[in-house]
């Protein structure tokens, strides 16, 4: 990637950062849901520990860890998809797509914005969990960074799928940007092991990188071990899903150029 390409990517990131600089409610909104989730689950786990004592404390830790890490995937996917939607809402896509910005550079810029939105959204919730409930996510050790990365990548793969649907179906697919990952929560084994799921559903869960991340998180929190197998599976699945969704995105982008959808998207 040459200097001009990096500058084009920065141009798109700068466009979104300028938007946030001028709108503090947008910044607040980034933190709102992760912090709210943290507070609600934090008090719930505090209540459970009060009822059942130490036996519930370990389970409470996995619940809070699940809440925080799942927010990484959610914010990663939303950060990507909503940044793309911002271009549609501002009726700016026509200018963007007739500039020398390549589709892959647009994707890289959306990934950059996704990282920024995850950090701004999730880090305050991590801090709050430590301050209010003495739950240190980083107590798991450096492996937590790998969990973050695996969920970030999964968020991008899902977001590429959502963006492809928006290119295919226009504004009608917008709602998916907020809802699609919530639909994967039951299969992601965020709050319970994959083994809890019915046998026929377990292969579905194990095809998702998130299920491996949360299995790995439970191993780290409950046993103090690093589940390398699950970690490797998570990254391998991320690579496969990202490659597939990148292909779908590029195919839909080219179809949109053939159908004329780039002229009317969002109308």
């Amino acid at each position: 990637m040459n200097r001009a390409a990096l500058r084009r990517i920065w141009g798109m990131i700068y466009r979104h950062l300028a938007l946030y600089r001028r709108s503090w409610p947008r910044v607040l909104e980034l933190m709102y849901w992760p912090v709210l989730q943290m507070v609600v689950w934090g008090f719930t786990t505090t209540y459970l520990i009060g009822l059942q004592g130490n036996s519930a404390a370990l389970a409470a830790g996995t619940l809070l860890g699940g809440v925080l890490l799942w927010e990484v995937a959610l914010r990663s996917q939303m950060g990507f998809s909503i940044s793309f939607l911002e271009e549609i809402w501002s009726r700016n896509l026509g200018h963007v797509f007739v500039s020398p910005l390549r589709p892959r550079e647009l994707v890289a810029a959306l990934m950059g914005m996704s990282i920024i939105r995850v950090l701004v959204g999730v880090l305050p919730a991590v801090l709050l969990a430590w301050l209010l409930y003495a739950f240190g996510l980083f107590a798991m050790g450096p492996v937590v960074v790998a969990f973050f990365a695996a969920l970030l990548l999964m968020g991008w793969a899902v977001a590429l799928g959502v963006t492809s649907l928006i290119l295919r179906h226009g504004a009608g697919a917008e709602a998916l940007a907020w809802s699609i990952l919530f639909g994967l929560t039951p299969f992601s084994a965020v709050f319970y092991p994959v083994a809890v799921l019915p046998g026929w559903l377990q292969p579905v869960a194990l095809a998702l990188p998130s299920a491996h991340v949360f299995e790995g998180m439970r191993a780290a929190l409950l046993d103090g071990t690093i589940a390398w197998g699950h970690l490797g599976a998570a990254f391998a699945l991320d690579a496969a899903w990202l490659a597939l969704m990148a292909w779908v995105f590029m195919a839909q982008f080219e179809r949109a150029r053939i159908r004329g959808a780039l002229l009317s998207i969002g109308e």
């Binding site: 141009g11 700068y14 466009r15 300028a18 501002s90 200018h95 500039s99 020398p100 004329g260 002229l263």
Partner: protein, 250 residues
């Protein structure tokens, strides 16, 4: 004609296999440094043609070469050397004028972006507006900002879709004068689509008349006026739109 600004060969576009063609067999060679007009009623194929020239739309048939680059294989090289403005495509409303121009300076890899933005702001009387959100500008101010965006990369080819639509006569005249001067100073090639016949007559050395996606006539405004025996281009436009052939016009 050596290395034209635009070379369209048998260009066609059907949005679906069943639909009538939006553009049908359009061919032309626009020389460098010229200002040409694309005229036609609603649905004549002007927007579709411009979208294909910009690479936003893939033609169903034919070939486009822009500034020597084949748009099917090498469109990004051409896009870096051209630009586009339309009142129907907005700039992010919450960003200031300066921020918007900075975004596009990055996208077009403009060297010394700050200096270029200041230069354009001075030329287009935008200096006072640089810190204002783009969404809070009047129609005339927005048109000037859109022009600044379209000129940020010093384009060799400028595509303008109705550059003075919704402007009052005074502002419209200012924009037209500015475009005339800019073309004379830089040698930039300009293709503009417009419904304003007086504007086309004033700015364009050559006019492409489209109807139902087909090129039905072409020539300089003076030649078309002579051919149709009319006093202004609006009458020529009406003759063509209503299907009156040049020979049949009294």
């Amino acid at each position: 004609m050596e290395n034209p600004a635009i070379h369209a060969e048998a260009l066609s576009k059907r949005y679906t296999p069943e639909a009538a063609p939006a553009v049908d067999g359009l061919s032309f060679r626009m020389p460098r440094g010229a200002t040409w007009g694309l005229l036609g009623g609603n649905g004549a194929g002007k927007t579709t043609t411009i979208a294909m020239l910009l690479g936003l739309l893939v033609p169903s048939g034919g070939r486009i070469t822009v500034l020597g680059h084949d748009m099917a294989r090498d469109r990004f090289a051409a896009l870096a050397r051209m630009n586009f403005s339309s009142p129907y495509i907005a700039l992010p409303a919450r960003l200031s004028v300066a921020e918007n121009l900075r975004v596009y300076a990055h996208l077009y890899d403009v060297p010394q972006a700050g200096r270029r933005i200041a230069e354009l702001a001075a030329q287009l009387q935008l200096t006072e507006l640089l810190d204002r959100p783009a969404g809070q500008l009047s129609a005339g101010q927005k048109t000037r900002v859109a022009l600044a965006k379209a000129l940020v990369n010093r384009p060799e080819l400028l595509l303008l879709d109705e550059p003075t639509a919704s402007l009052d006569p005074d502002t419209g005249d200012w924009v037209r004068s500015w475009l005339e001067r800019y073309r004379a100073e830089t040698g930039c090639s300009i293709l503009l689509a417009s419904h304003n016949m007086a504007e086309v007559e004033r700015l364009c050395g050559h006019v492409l008349m489209l109807k139902q996606g087909r090129l039905v006539d072409a020539g300089s405004p003076a030649a078309l006026l002579g051919k149709y025996g009319r006093g202004d281009l609006e009458q020529v436009f009406l003759d063509i739109a209503r299907g009156r052939a040049a020979e049949a016009v009294p």
